[in-house]
Symmetry: C2
Subunit: 340 residues, 2 copies
DNA sequence: CTGAAAGCGCTTACAG
DNA sequence: CTGAAAGCGCTTACAG
């Protein structure tokens, strides 16, 4: 009886030791073979790989995280996974880190600060190797708990002079101002804004209002939509028109709502852009495909995620803390189309 | 010197032992206090909580996973996170398991079987407590590796007589047949189908073709779109019309593409539904808001996720394996609207 | 109600 | 190129 087969029941998952026994080597060497195959003799490697296949061995990542102090997790916090424009950012991030083996652990905080706080606590417990957040974090408790851990943190979609660690975004304020100047240039004297209460929409409104004021135009009518849907855009537009029938230019904080505004105009027989000009933000496909096509602010949704991923990889590789405090402005572009 | 402060540098994350020392108790009791506060004396509990707050202690979940053999992870595999209808399913799932503390680890396999295989390997290493997959898995290697682990697995969005473990879906075949019968009832004799090559779209096409054949109608023209976008729907519709100008009814495998078909008709001045009837699947908001509104198959996107979550919780709670092999059909509904 | 001991399955130094 | 020892930070039984 030279062969010492593992005595554990077959229903249990094999451990590294089981592989080692089957391959006639040690757990150490199996571990090395799996992570740095070049450092193991070819023949040993072959025996180990055969054993891995035979047993269907998959390393227990909880154990390796614990031992190596690297979790392999990239935590991603988004306001909502149901929004395709945020998923562009996630896609950019995933593409950027595809080579490194980091898993994206995606948490959805439903636009709620309270849920975000809980999510951060939960994620910190998983010891993420890095954290990416859609939106800048303004809650001091959350900022502190993210700072406390050593992992790089990238905020996105906004600019802030004081990032937790790094931030990659664009100026929502300038985007709003750019739309206002565009509407003014199109001869619109009575403008409105439709958007929610989170910080990015507020910054767009602030820029929009500032540029109107600078031109001596009246302050914008504003409406807060029920959510970010087409229907909410329709309804908000209807309320604005009821309140201020002379409105001739509307900036919606997102394209989806702007499409609602446009469809509502078409339903009511309101000429766009003859009577009312409409602009959105996001350059989503639906806006591009509408007839007339929607004027919009194109934002670097994919690029922000991709750049965030690159920053993280650089930091993880070089242990280079010099990037900390970095603020990267990726800009935006006004796409003038049929609705203005 | 009675007070023995922890000697570790403050930059390192506190461990349970640090909390125990500060609270004047043992690691065991801290662990218990955090998980089953009712089993710890009120006074001890208060001291522990104060210590937790003072140190900003967050348990290392890699260590607890390893020790408890529960990861707290619910692995979710989706074809793409960029599709809002799949995120409905994820939302349903998240809502169902919100009370239990399970984190959703979402993996995106980009509609690629190869990427899905890798993803499954990676996820299995994280020892998920449960797995939910959008789509049935037909790859035998993947099925085997999911079966090997003890965790419950729920497939969704399809029905299959032989699930890996449990499956919650609807009949894509019947959905296709229902649309065909509806178009026939509307007097359409020359139908077409636009949809991709994955199993769900194929089942819809099979049902669509079968119902046409049963009625003695000619087999459908079919077009495979470049992707699932509005633009792809437009282009596929254009190709169909070029090939078969007498087409009078088109079923698109998803609403987004169907909207493309509708917009293309409007651009070309083709009367819908007078000359061509159009139907989609998904009951997405954009289809509802179009003018005319899109006829569609409403599918239980949210409900499938929610039910999957309930099945998982039941299994996790009762260790009840009787649900295994269960096939749950949540059905669908034809919503007849303006385009047919 | 509380705690000392053992162990979860890996990896990190270190030695050879 | 390979391996024995120690330890990552928790929880599980068990004892009291």
């Amino acid at each position: 009886m030279n062969e010492s087969a593992p005595l554990r029941p077959l229903t249990e998952r094999p451990r590294i030791e089981d592989v080692a026994i089957l391959a006639g080597t040690s757990a150490m060497t199996v571990s090395r073979a799996l992570r740095q195959p070049g450092k193991v003799a070819a023949e040993t490697l072959a025996r180990i790989m055969a054993a891995v296949d035979a047993l269907g061995y998959v390393p227990n990542l909880s154990a390796s995280s614990l031992a190596s102090r690297r979790s392999g997790i990239l935590a991603v916090l988004v306001p909502t996974i149901g929004n395709s424009i945020f998923s562009e950012t996630v896609r950019g991030l995933a593409d950027a880190v595809a080579a490194a083996d980091l898993h994206l652990l995606i948490g959805d905080f439903g636009y709620s600060d309270d849920k975000r706080r809980k999510l951060v606590r939960a994620l910190v417990g998983r010891q993420p190797d890095a954290v990416v957040i859609v939106g800048a974090v303004h809650d001091e408790a959350v900022r502190a708990s993210l700072r406390r851990q050593a992992a790089p943190v990238v905020e996105t979609w906004e600019l802030s002079p004081d990032p937790i660690d790094m931030i990659v975004g664009f100026s929502n304020f300038e985007a709003g101002a750019t739309v206002a100047r565009h509407l003014l240039a199109r001869g619109r004297g009575r403008c409105a804004f439709v958007g929610g209460l989170e910080s990015r929409a507020e910054a767009r409104l602030a820029g929009f209002a500032a540029a109107l004021a600078a031109a001596g135009a009246p302050p914008p009518e504003t409406e807060v939509p029920a959510d970010l849907s087409i229907a909410a855009g329709r309804e908000a537009f209807g309320r604005i028109l009821a309140r201020a029938p002379d409105i001739d230019g509307v900036f919606f904080a997102t394209d989806v709502m702007a499409v609602g505004g446009l469809l509502e105009c078409q339903r009511r027989g309101i000429d766009v852009p003859g009577r009312v000009a409409i602009a959105g933000l996001g350059n989503l496909e639906i806006g591009r495909q509408m007839q007339p096509a929607l004027t919009t602010i194109e934002i670097p949704a994919y690029a922000m995620g991709h750049r965030a991923g690159e920053l993280i990889l650089a930091r993880l590789a070089k242990e280079d803390p010099s990037a900390s405090g970095r603020v990267i402005d990726l800009g935006f572009a006004l796409l003038t189309r049929g609705t203005t």
